[in-house]
Amino acid sequence: MKVHILGEYITQFGELWDKSLRDLIQEAVMGSLRDSNMKSTEIEAVFVSNMGAGILENQLHLGALVSSMFPHHPPSMRIEGACASGGLAMIAGEQALLSGRYQTVIVVGAEKMTDVGTQQSTEFLAAAADMELEFGSSFPVLYSLLTQAHMQKYGTTRDMLSSASSKNHRHAMDNPGAQFHKQFSIDDVNRSELVADPIRLLDCSPISDGAAAVVLTTKNTSGPIILGYGHGSDSLSLSDRQSLTSLSSTVSAAKQCYSESRLTPNDIEMAEVHDCFTINEILAIEDLGFFAKGKGGEASLKGKTTYGGKVVINPSGGLKACGHPVGATGVKQIAYLSKLIRKGKLQVGLTHNVGGSGATAVIHAIGRSK
């Protein structure tokens, strides 16, 4: 039994003043139902991905809130794993289907982040770190430490990091739903404001609003297929990691996913990876096996991660240029590749969704059904 994607929908990502969290969720749910040609009453269960509504909106019990949008109030739950919430919600939906309990479910991820100021959103995001062992940190700071470690061990350069950001902005020009439609050269990224040395402003994914939804089924054998998935974990704090130059959660999740889907890195044409900061794209393309350890930066600089290269990384523009409404990202990655498969532009793709500084990683392989 395999899980197929009946339909998908991604809202515009960006600073969406006229859309509340509920509006975004509603839009994504209705959009994915239309895309699936499904009636809302055909949805048997709802899986909601969201990190921040409790802190930013004082709204918990999101599963029930979304279930209320359906006339028959299907069973529902909210899943949270920081920025990996979307990937985890996908797993929850898939496992519910594969258990045989349900045949058709919806997974929706959403986040509303721009109603609060930068300080408050930075503090909210920092809650994905270990609040005791990493007290006083923020994500730019933690990823700065990872960047320094990679630069020290492998000689990864400023230009290599910037090339990932530059490339993602170029890719986003073809994604109407992306938050940014502006290109930046490597020099532009190099010269952007220092945030947490050596991380610069254009190394960082933005604060975004947005939602994405997919309708999953085991009833139908057409439509893009989830070929396999993997779920890896590591310590929440950096201080307890075995390595600062590899995310073992990614390595572990990738191994599971490749094994289940019977794929190798060479089979992957496109991958949506978790570039919350440019270093995380470099780490991802190494840990996913696309490039040798320590060579990710060089590969990025030499154009091997764009069209005409070895593998297209972040065709949507990634988190950097498409935007990163936290709870939506993992679902959007699936939805975006699913859309490309339907358009005949992709045979086999991979999504990589990370929580915190790498404590959680969820990887999906998605392909065209035969």
Binding site: S137, P140, V141, S144, L145, I199, L238
Partner: protein, 83 residues
């Protein structure tokens, strides 16, 4: 930031074990550092306004958080200072 009394109370019992320990900076940026103390690694804020670099020798010190308002509990934490 509201400092919860029970949270303050639990944390204050742990501070003496890590106070006054010496170590070395592994990586540091913007007021935060990953340090090694003995065989273990820790993450700490750095004392106000200081800039640490990889390899710097540090000691853990007790410092005020300055996140309170006029009526709340005063918060403290361990930070690291270059020696």
């Amino acid at each position: 930031m509201i400092i919860k009394p029970a949270d303050y109370w639990r944390k204050s019992k742990k501070i003496s074990k890590l106070l006054g320990l010496s170590g070395k900076v592994l990586f540091a940026t913007n007021g935060f550092a990953l340090v090694s103390i003995g065989a273990k690694k820790y993450e700490f804020q750095t004392v106000a306004g200081s800039k640490l670099n990889t390899g710097d020798k540090i000691v853990t010190v007790f410092r005020r958080l300055n996140l309170e308002n006029n009526s709340s509990l005063v918060g403290y934490t361990l930070k690291v200072k270059k020696i």
